[in-house]
Symmetry: C2
């Protein structure tokens, strides 16, 4: 990477942050969460409108674009780390059964209904399994940010959503392993699947238990060191390390970042850590949401495009399944006084995991380009409707 | 860039920061500036020892390495921004003539002596000009960081060094333009050179004047906005924008970052900006110095390698010229009570600009690989000797 390319990357970052702030502010002024403005900013910068910035994750990118994709991922990792720092592990354990039930219903519902709708629409058995699987996993970044924007991140509903999203991610591992075996024509080895899941659960439970024991010692050591910035670097390294391990175990990196936040939230240095992480989050988190918008290709929804038009009915059905079945999942909330509707709406966004299924399916010729486009459309629509929907149901609840 | 590559980049960052802190702390414990430890950490991680991390700026890199190179540049930009924030423009103007004289002597001396030594050693006229030019420009990052490590960044000596380094960079533009024309076989167009220099000076003087006028309005506007992190983002964007413009005008990006810091240092929000930039600097600045170490290829200095051995005398002479003539430049200090030795030693490090001359010379067959290696060796040696030398002369002065 030459210095000219570095300079070009800097220009991209300037443009992204200026657009993020202008559109975030506009969203705020019309009564919407700023994150919606950032998403729109990304769509405008991306291929659908201006085409200034590219973000295709699978293609070989120019180094400048790789840098942007990386900074975006760093942004969502820091977002979930911050959310973890603001959370209390005990409160999570208290809503554990609600989160578990919401997660299970929220996976089983969209899977079953996605599968049957696809079969009814004439898809093959394997394609239908893929479509169902692609609709299962919640992408928690949007909801976490929206709840943060609205000052609702410390509520019980937020705890249930975040807890359910973590459990979702573990269930996603199972589905990925099972569907992966089916696609490869192998029988499903329950031993293998069990091993993957056991590792993930051991990482989460064990990692948090060990982390709670070790973190005060780590921070104590850091304070004995004489060079500057030790607390910031220790906290940041702790977050990156758990994110890395989570990814290597097949979980989402943000699950690790969230766990890191939960652990450090129990240390006496919490306030200082939050102060130091906040400016880093201020800069990198918007990059994630703008780049999420950049990755949107609106042509799959263009009714003037005949190919897209013939697909719109299918997309409509999938979106309906995706939205309704997650809202239904909100009924899994056992705790009194928590709005089932808020929790259900908070579970609506789909993202990464759906896209992973979509691209595996496409590259192995299990699903058609039209079916691939439909999954992309579900991700786009669920991402964009959640911030206003969540804002709407929250103000109705609080009214 | 796939999520696996993102995860790999995160692993690299974890390793870099852990090594930076461990070796920085070791350096501190043996009475050396932490930056020296970070440089050594980089050498150990790089091709010379472990080979875990690559940083070649000219080659086509894996996306993970591009990310590291970018984060390193972002680190040095933030470092100089921070230094600017801690500085006072009036004090700079007060030491302006000293800085000017130090810069001019510090460019003319190494150029003349580098040129004549090369001629005496049998190099051609053009090669000798290149060798001389490669020895001129000061790389201020090392010195700024070392002075910061030692708590000396607010001294008059520091002001003169920083001011001289900025002037150095403008003179570097002239040399690059002149040498570039000579190499291309053109006569030197003084009009062209004048235009380049005028633009750079106009950017620095005009940019700072306009910036001082506009910055309070910008920050005032930012405070009226309702979305979070506005002050952090405004300051960060201001720094990136001036860095980008400086680079596009042919100056170093860090000159722009430094100017941005100088401007914001005059606003009423200075303390808040410093608080917010510090954690970002804590994380990204060490990445720059570790990556500087990573880019070192010690084989050019290996006496067991016959090719390197035959070059050692030449390298020795060049290093001597490079060090002595910058120390001599310290005599340019007019202001009383400022140590000429500290200023001279602070001007020793060579970096980016020397490497640019070296690679232009090599790719156009003006200098041989051995001469190229000699320039690299000068950059390495001057980089590594400066932190301990500066610490040494400072403790002697203050004794």
């Amino acid at each position: 990477m030459s210095l000219d390319q570095v300079s070009q990357s800097i220009l991209y970052i300037i443009i992204i942050l200026v657009f993020a702030k202008v559109f975030g502010e506009l969203a705020e002024r019309i009564g919407q969460p700023p994150v919606l403005g950032e998403l729109v900013a990304g769509v405008i910068l991306g291929a659908s409108v201006l085409g200034w910035i590219r973000a295709d994750r699978t293609a070989i990118l120019a180094p400048e674009s790789s840098v942007l994709v990386f900074l975006a991922e760093l942004g969502v990792i820091i977002l979930l780390f911050e959310v973890g720092l603001e959370s209390d592990l005990e409160e999570f354990l208290r809503v554990g059964w609600s989160a578990m039930l919401v997660a299970v219903i929220g996976v089983a519902g969209p899977f079953a209904l996605g599968y049957y709708s696809s079969i009814l629409l004439g898809l093959s058995y394997t394609s239908a399994i893929f479509m169902g699987a692609a609709l299962t996993a919640t992408s928690v970044g949007i909801t976490a940010r929206t709840l943060g924007d609205l000052g609702q991140i410390r509520t019980s509903a937020a705890k249930i959503i975040l807890g359910a999203a973590v459990i979702d991610d573990v269930i996603g591992l199972i589905i990925l392993a099972v569907v992966g075996s089916l696609v490869a024509g192998n029988t499903v080895s329950f031993g293998e699947v069990g091993k993957v899941v056991l590792l993930a659960v051991a990482f989460l439970a064990g990692g948090i238990a060990i982390g709670i024991f070790l973190a005060p010692h780590m921070l104590g050591l850091a304070k004995k060191l004489r060079t500057r910035g030790m607390l910031t670097i220790s906290a940041f390294l702790f977050c990156l390390t758990l994110s890395y391990l989570a990814h290597e175990l097949g979980l989402a990196a943000i699950v690790g970042a969230f766990a890191a936040g939960l652990i450090l939230a129990r240390t006496e240095d919490l306030v200082h850590i939050q102060q130091r992480i906040k400016p880093i989050a201020d800069i990198f988190v918007p990059i994630f949401f703008v780049m999420l918008g950049v990755s949107v290709n609106l042509s799959v929804l263009n009714p003037l495009n005949p190919e897209a038009r013939s697909n719109l009915a299918f997309i409509g059905i999938l979106v309906l399944v995706a939205v309704v079945m997650k809202v239904v999942a909100g009924l899994g909330v056992l705790k009194r006084g928590v709005s089932r509707l808020v929790v259900g709406v908070g579970m609506i966004p789909r993202g990464e995991v759906g896209l992973i299924f979509a691209s595996i399916g496409l590259t192995r010729n299990i699903i058609t380009p039209a079916e691939y486009a439909a999954i992309i459309a579900v991700v786009i629509i669920t991402t964009f409707i959640t911030p206003p929907l969540l804002k709407g149901v929250l103000s109705r609840e609080n009214a």
